[in-house]
Amino acid sequence: MTEIRAEMVANVWKVVAVEGDSVADGDTLVILESMKMEIPVLAEGSGKLARLAVAEGDVIQEGDLIAVIE
């Protein structure tokens, strides 16, 4: 199981993946926005996207859970 957490304070601009999807290492899961920059959050490893903990428009803090890959 891999937990993917936020590296910085950001707004969730776009949720690209869907919970339950099979994802491959490097796939874009979510796109964050911080300081007028888009930051893609990528899958770290392949597997099933067991959980997607954010929704578009959320403000997330550094360390917040974004997704879980099993």
């Binding site: 910085m8 304070v9 950001a10 926005e33 911080s34 300081m35 007028k36 920059m37 930051i39 403000v59």
Partner: protein, 449 residues
Amino acid sequence: MAGVPDSVLIANRGEIARRVIRTARRLGVRAIAVYSEADAGLPYVAEADEAVSIGPAPAKDSYLNVPAILAAAKQTGARSIHPGYGFLAESADFAQQVIDAGLTWIGPPPDAIDQMGDKIRARNLMQAAGVPVAAGTQDPVQDVDEALRRAETIGYPVMIKAAAGGGGIGMSVALDPEQLRKGFETARSRAERFFASPAILLERYISSARHVEIQILGLADGQVIALGERDCSVQRRHQKVAEETPSPGVSPELRERMFQAAIRAGEAVGYRGAGTVECLVDTQTGDFVFLEMNTRLQVEHPVTEMVTGIDLVEQQFLIADGLAANIPAQSFQPNGCALELRVYAEDPVRFLPSPGTITQWDEPAGPGVRVDAGYAAGNVVTPYYDPLLAKLVTHGATRDEALARAIQAVAGFAIAGLKTNLPFHVDLLNSAQFGSGDYDTSIVSHLRP
């Protein structure tokens, strides 16, 4: 000072709001700040004579919230509005609303903003005025197929740009049709999202170029003058990181040609106030092409102020009120060299945003050192706005002296609590390439491969 409005509302935030307040104070003009909920603790709010809260943190609810800004002006009895840069600075519609409200707009005529705001229109207008432009599209590219057809005529590599864009957002280079397909879609979605316009243009990409821009002033009597160039070739993600004047890559002969073109550009749109004509200089051929015109004060305006002795914000105030500018004759002979380093809240390797709380903030000082900062210790840097924390500017009789002062000043700038790009500036200033002055817009990619 007689003539200038007795009060100004600054429709902006951070370092530029503070910068405008400083000149307003010196001229005896009452300075009114506006701020979002996220910015209530910033120095510019405390330093203004009056400050009005205009809404929640997201820019669309505050710094882009025209009704709230105009209401703040009315409430405080502001007689004029200075837009700074970014946000509403290049909105012809906002400028017109300010004028219609009976206030003095400290910027160019709305029509000049409008004509230069669309990059396709601006390109066509400049070409007609005899200003060199790169080969490119003369109307918006509708879809990928058209883009591919047009690119064949223009010749690869091509630059893909949002016609309504700015700040490098949505820009990309395509070396072949494959990259063009990909870049076109990305550019279009970003253009819609950031600029509410899907119009895209293609331009021949110059593979080795310096980004050189000319500061112009359109005077109240209609005359347009050029006040020197700035070299802004140090960029990451098509955004400027460091600027200098004079440009080490521009000969006196080329400078004169660029000045004349910039003056023609300003005259073509009846420009008034401070503006910047951005050009690309092809390092292979030594020729230049028009890139775009920024119809506002530029972030990097301090380097021009350092070598000319002119306060550009003061000139904006004077010209907006129909007065003669305050420019001594010697300002046209730049005195020495100046360098600006943008201090960003971002990691110095990958340049990713790094919001956070500032626990320490100690600015350098000394001969030839100027710091325009938006923050102080204890402030929170939020993810809502751009990452610019401060501008560190140094001046010297020679480029070497300005550089040596910059190296010392960077070492003396202590910021803790979040990551900044100061370590990048150390690498930049000490690099052989920057030191030689012989660099182009690829310099950052060489320093951070």
